[in-house]
Subunit: 240 residues, 2 copies
């Protein structure tokens, strides 16, 4: 069996300042089935602490530390910078996340790929970006405000795995009630409505049609129809 393509993705956090964000990125990676987290020049003390915590997620425990971006991406064949801010002058081709993810998924079939995420405050520097083949942007409605680091990682990994899923997420439609059952419900409902005075004898022919159509529109499942029948039976018993 070939190795899982997701094992070839490196999530590279460049100079992250907040250990909570490193933890959040690790958690999103675990959620979506990625394992290789690399951190370049983190705020030292906090990173060490977070990494060695007893309850640290496996992805965080296995995180690798580097002092330069060059080292962190040395084994990768495609290096992509991420950005969510729009106004910056960029010297790289820029792709929206969705087409970017298509390319990345394809490359992960055979090659290691890195996605770089910049620090919370400054994003990726021009020097960081110089290691990248191109950039991806999460298209937001508010280009004046960058995304939270952990959320940006989560959204990227979601998009990377979104279309990779087997189509059959098995939506079981519940089995519907038969026409016979719907009619039984209609008849009992009509008697209930007559006994409670909702239907006047004079108008009852058209009321019957209306009620019958209403019951069909409910589109009851087999299970729900049994419940509704039981309810009506009891109400009728009381009204009689």
């Amino acid at each position: 069996m070939p190795p899982n393509p997701r094992s070839r993705l490196r999530v590279v956090l460049v100079a992250p300042r907040n250990p909570l964000n490193i933890g959040a990125a690790a958690r999103a990676m675990y959620n979506f089935g990625f394992a290789s987290l690399r951190v370049v020049n983190p705020y030292e003390v906090a990173f060490r602490e977070a990494k060695s915590a007893v309850r640290a997620a496996p992805v965080l425990k296995a995180a690798e530390e580097f002092t330069t971006v060059a080292d962190a991406v040395a084994d990768c064949y495609l290096v992509i910078g991420s950005t969510s801010v729009g106004h910056r002058e960029l010297h790289h081709p820029l792709r929206a996340l969705e087409p970017a993810a298509r390319i990345i998924r394809k490359r992960l079939q055979s090659d290691a790929v890195a996605i770089l995420f910049g620090s919370e405050k400054f994003g990726l520097s021009n020097d960081d970006l110089s290691h990248c083949h191109w950039l991806l942007r999460i298209e937001t409605a508010a280009p004046d405000q960058s995304m939270n680091l952990g959320q940006a990682v989560a959204v990227c990994l979601y998009e990377l795995t979104r279309a990779a899923r087997r189509p059959a997420a098995a939506r079981r439609e519940p089995k519907h009630a038969s026409a016979a059952i719907n009619e039984q419900i209609t008849v009992m409902l009509l008697e209930t409505l007559e006994r409670s005075g909702y239907i006047k004898p004079l108008t009852s022919a058209s009321s019957e049609d209306k009620t019958r159509r209403l019951v069909r529109r409910l589109n009851l499942s087999q299970r729900d129809s049994a419940v509704v029948l039981g309810m009506l039976r009891q109400i009728l018993w009381k009204l009689r």
Copy 2:
């Protein structure tokens, strides 16, 4: 110009414990152009503090507080629960995020829609879920671990806006009953069932949830809901 469909989405956080998560949800909403944040029973002190902080994002400042889920979704016509954990026994139809987002985008063209997110520790309770028409799940690779709250919100809003540029084919769906009307039907049906002896006092808590879910599954149109209310009113009048 018609109001922005995104203004019709309510992001409802139920019993969030960590103010950082409320802030993260608000930030993701701002990033993706959503504004209506509702919080049910937050951890009081922290929420008040976060909300009143000078640097709080506009979405957070405008967040509304409620004491019950019913109140928080009363003006909504479609109520959806979110879950990222797979092993739980569910009584609702479950949709993957992508098809779910298609439905939600369409409904937002005309109606207010709520998405509920549970507390960090316990997710949504059965009682919370009983207010929902159906559930959406972010499909992850690790169904044993739930997603971080702020990341789950970010991924949902990303997916909601991802394909938004292609306008959905406008098919005329009948207008649906609001959550307030569905709840009114539920309350009257429960009284009917109690008065007719269908519900025993001992089991009535779980019966209440079951009945609430049943009413949501009927997915009544606005017109039908008025008819059903009229029927129940008359039956109740007779039973009293």
